[in-house]
Every structure is written in structure tokens, then in C-alpha cells.
């Protein structure tokens, strides 16, 4: 057994920390306990960090390097966390994924350059960790830049995309394999550094051509990457806690990517290797075709009246609401109606907004109690019993073509059945399509009337009119 108390303490601390991480993930399963869960997790991490200071290898100057690093990084992270807008959450998460990947890559590299006679298994973990971590790093930076609009949404690269991809993957596999075979020595180190650089490039080249609207999926995938990279560095330094923690992250990333892909009725491969480039043109055509079809407009006061005198109203918020930062005005309108005895609920599509659960956060920020928010499965049956549906900056998630039109690119994607309600009022700026780039027949449905303009402005008018009504 363990004959040394210092090591025993460290082992125990790591073990407890692992247990805390697992429990915390369980607590994150319900809004009531989620906050405690988050605190348990950070508690576990802090415990592990403190324990690590007792490791024998850490001595003298190391403390200063470590403490300084923690201070700098921690402060930076804290500021970011406080400053970020809720609408910018995807960018924030992208950055964090990148930093996670970077850490794992750096661990792999410095372990390989710093130590000699490492076992084959360890070297393999090093090579893989270096590749995956680096891709997570640069890929996330590109994703961030796209979400921020720093680089154009769809950047066609010169040359055949499939070819480039294949080349990059092949090259990294080759270099990685060589590293593992050499296993040791100056040459091996050079090869690993080349692998590292190639992987950094690969992250950029793989994500660059992906459409900006697919970034959320990319982010979830890179989230998984950062987790897998953590697992691998766990194998590198032979630490179970890192393996377990990384696995939990990886599982979450994989699950959310699949969820999004499913909700968008796309395959992961289709997102990454993008047959998607085609759709928008189709969308453009769709939009063109759209103009010809009749569209009923509605005046704010008319819309306000039918809202004010309805029994049941369902609000369908979408990405546009986020863009317009209209969440607070929506809440104001909703409570106005509720005061008048109208039953107001929110229907949240799993991929409304720009990342999973994004709408819930935005509306929570606007003090909408989460038990007014209904997930699609729970509320889809109720639209038929609803008087007015208020669609605010949502488009694809309401598109009936997903149910009716087998030729539609989004056919099969589960959508909110808004067109079953008595009346539908749509708030958007114009007739342009959503991110899927497809025409939405809902807007031409006789039940539907459009209130054009920026969501926030339109809602402002509605509020005024409802007050008047």
C-alpha cells in the first residue's frame, strides 16, 4: 500500500476532487441544484490544485511560476467572465475551449522535450494530446473570430477543400506516428514540434471554411476536443483525476454536438466537411421566390389588440431576439399581458438562438422565471389550443417545410408547430431567411401577419399599444 503520508494525502485529495466533479455534474441536472453543482465542481478543482502544491517535484522557483500563472490567468478569466454579454456566450466558450486545448498541447510538448525515456504509451498520448489540443486552440480562435464577425462567415480557401482536409489529417497522423516510433531523442523532438505546428495550422484551415452559422456546432465539437485532450494529458502525467475530468467534458461536448446536429437535421460530418456551402444560394433563390407570394402585414395596434384580448399566448423567441437584445422588452410585454389575465408562455426550440439553451439564458437574464419556458416536446401539443403565437426573430425553428416538404434542406428537423394556433404574428425586419437559408412558408400562411422592423422597436410599439388597449 502507500507507505508515504504526503503522497497519500495528495492521492486522497485527487480522489475526493474526482468525486466532487461527478456529484457536481449530477447537480447540474436541475435548475434548483445547478448553482450548488457549479460550486462543488470549483471546490473540487481548488482542492486538487492545493494538493498539487505538496508534490515533491514542485520546489523553489516553481512556486513563483505557478502562483504568478494562476494569478494572471485567474484574473484574466474573472474579468472576461464578468464583462461578457449573455448574447456573446458562444464566443466566450470558444475562447475557453481554446485555452483548455492550448494547456493540454503545451503539457504534451514540454513533457516530451523535458523528459527522456518515456514509455511508448506515454509518447502516443503525448502525440495525440499535442495534435488534438492544438486543433482545439486555433480552431476555437477562428470560431471566435467568425462569431465576432472579425473574419467573414464563409471563407472559401484556394484549392479543393476535401483534399486539403485529407492532406492535413494524413500529415498529422504521419508525423504523430513517426514521433511514437522514434519515441526518444532530438529527432523525435523536432518531429513532435512539427506535428504541433501542423496541428495549429490544421485548426485554422479546418474551421475557416465552415459557415459562421455552424460555429455553435464547431464550438461543441472543440469543447469535446478540449476534453479529450485533457484525458490524454491525464495519461501523459498518469493522473486519474485529469482522466475523469476530461472524460466528463468530452462526453458533454459530444452529446451537445450530436444534439445540435440532430436538431438541425444535419450530420456532424456534413457540418465539418460542409456540403453546407451550397444551401445559402438556394436560400437566396428562396427569398427571391418569397417576394412573389402574398404576405399580410399588420399594424402594431391591431397586433396589440389581438394579444391583449387573447386567453392564451405563446411567445416563440429566436436568434433575432438575441441580436435585437429585445429580451427585456419581451419580458415587459409578457408581464403586461399577464396582468391583463392572459396566459403567456414561451416555447423554446432546442436550437433557438445560437447555442443550445442560449434562449433560456437570455430570458433568464430578463427575469423570466424558467417555469414559464417550455421545451418543444412539452409545448408542441398546445399550439392548437392557443389564440395568438408571437414569433420574435425566429424563423427556421418554425418552418413548416421541415414537416411537409421532403425536398426542403431542413426536412425532418423537429420544429415548433406554430401554424396550428388561431393566429400567428411574426416580428422580423424583412423577408430574409434564417441561417438555414430556406424560405419559410409560415410567413405566407393566411393565419400569419408580419410586423416588420427591429424586434426591440416593434415590441416597444406593441407595449405602448397594449397599455392603450
Amino acid at each position: 500500500m502507500i507507505d508515504n503520508w504526503r503522497d497519500a494525502f495528495i492521492d486522497l485529495a485527487y480522489f475526493i476532487s474526482a468525486v466532487l466533479l461527478i456529484i457536481s455534474l449530477n447537480q447540474l441536472g436541475s435548475p434548483k441544484t445547478a448553482r450548488v453543482g457549479n460550486q462543488l465542481a470549483v471546490g473540487g478543482l481548488l482542492l486538487a490544485i492545493v494538493a498539487t502544491f505538496f508534490n515533491r517535484d514542485i520546489a523553489g522557483g516553481d512556486y513563483w511560476v505557478i502562483l504568478l500563472g494562476i494569478a494572471v490567468g485567474g484574473a484574466g478569466g474573472y474579468v472576461m467572465a464578468q464583462r461578457v454579454q449573455m448574447t456573446a456566450m458562444p464566443q466566450m466558450i470558444a475562447i475557453f475551449n481554446g485555452m483548455g486545448g492550448a494547456t493540454s498541447a503545451l503539457i504534451a510538448v514540454s513533457e516530451f522535450l523535458g523528459k527522456s525515456d518515456l514509455g511508448r504509451g506515454t509518447v502516443l498520448s503525448i502525440a495525440l494530446g499535442c495534435i488534438i489540443g492544438s486543433i482545439a486552440l486555433t480552431g476555437s480562435l477562428v470560431a471566435f473570430a467568425k462569431l465576432q464577425g472579425l473574419v467573414p462567415s464563409r471563407t472559401a480557401l484556394p484549392g479543393n477543400r476535401q483534399l486539403i482536409t485529407a492532406g492535413l489529417l494524413g500529415g498529422m497522423a504521419l508525423l504523430g506516428a513517426i514521433t511514437v516510433i522514434l519515441q526518444d531523442g532530438a529527432l523525435a523532438q523536432t518531429v513532435l514540434i512539427l506535428t504541433f505546428l501542423l496541428a495549429l495550422a490544421a485548426g485554422v484551415l479546418l474551421v475557416m471554411p465552415i459557415g459562421g452559422a455552424d460555429m455553435p456546432v464547431v464550438i461543441a465539437i472543440l469543447n469535446a476536443f478540449s476534453g479529450v485532450a485533457a484525458v490524454l494529458s491525464g495519461f501523459v502525467v498518469n493522473n486519474q483525476l485529469m482522466i475523469i475530468g476530461g472524460t466528463l467534458v468530452g462526453a458533454s461536448g459530444v452529446f451537445l454536438s450530436l444534439l445540435m446536429a440532430k436538431a438541425m437535421n444535419r450530420s456532424i460530418g456534413n457540418v465539418i466537411f460542409g456540403a453546407f456551402g451550397a444551401t445559402p444560394s438556394a436560400g437566396g433563390a428562396g427569398t427571391g421566390g418569397g417576394e412573389s407570394l402574398p404576405v399580410r402585414e399588420v399594424t402594431p395596434d391591431d397586433a396589440a389588440v389581438s394579444l391583449a384580448y387573447a386567453d392564451r399566448v405563446i411567445v416563440v423567441p429566436g436568434y433575432g431576439l438575441a441580436v435585437a437584445q429585445a429580451q427585456h422588452s419581451v419580458q415587459e410585454l409578457a408581464s403586461l399581458l399577464q396582468e391583463r389575465g392572459v396566459d403567456v408562455r414561451y416555447a423554446i426550440h432546442p436550437v433557438a438562438g445560437r447555442m443550445p439553451g442560449h434562449m433560456n439564458v437570455l430570458l433568464a437574464e430578463a427575469n423570466v422565471p424558467y417555469d414559464d419556458l417550455y421545451e418543444m416536446e412539452r409545448i408542441n401539443g398546445d399550439f392548437a389550443k392557443t389564440d395568438v403565437v408571437l414569433v420574435i426573430g425566429a424563423n427556421d425553428v418554425t418552418n413548416p417545410a421541415a414537416r411537409d416538404d421532403p425536398n426542403s434542406p431542413i426536412y425532418g428537423m423537429p420544429v415548433l408547430r406554430v401554424d396550428e394556433a388561431e393566429r400567428v404574428i411574426v416580428l422580423k425586419r424583412g423577408m430574409s431567411t434564417g441561417f438555414a437559408g430556406v424560405e419559410n412558408a409560415l410567413f405566407h400562411n393566411p393565419k400569419t401577419s408580419m410586423l416588420f422592423g427591429d424586434a426591440k422597436a416593434s415590441i416597444g410599439k406593441l407595449i405602448a399599444e397594449v397599455r392603450a388597449a
Binding site: 445547478a34 500563472g69 485567474g74 483548455g100 523535458g114 491525464g234 439553451g357
Partner: protein
Amino acid sequence: MLGIYILTLAIFLGAVLIMRVPSTLHTPLMSATNMISGIVLIGAMLVVGSVDSWWLQVLGFLAIAFSAANVVGGYAVTDRMLKMFKQRAPAAGTSGKGER
């Protein structure tokens, strides 16, 4: 072999736990996992402990800074979001009770 068992069990456990998370909480879940992936910080510390050359120490410093940012930032932003999640005050709450 034992490592494989640990990994596999953790994969299954992670999958089951994640699937229990309602979509309401998917964004906080993602930022929380950002924090958890900050666990690599301890790996970075071990590296700093084990390497000598100054420039490897620099790499280690960067690694530590990045992962510390994940831990602190991931926690802070998740807590910020979760603080905002409120249940309706029982007084008001009736609409759509049937659903629950």
C-alpha cells in the same frame, strides 16, 4: 488495463449524467465543462515541477495561466448565468401548471 477501466466507466457515467441535463441548462453546462477542463492545471503544475530549462518553464507558465483562466472564468460565468435562473414566485404561478 486499469486506466482503460477507469476511462470506460467515466465515459459511461459522463454520458448518463449529461443526458439528464435539461436543454434549459445546456449553455451553463458548456461553461461549467470549460471550468472542469481547467483540471489540466494540475498537469501543468506537475510539468513546471519536473522541467528545468527556462523556456520549458515559460511554456508551463502559459499552460498554467490558460487553465487557471478556465477554472476561474468558467466558474464565474456559469455562476453568473445560474444566478439569473429563477423559479416563478409561487404566489403568481399558475399558468400551465398542468404541464408539470
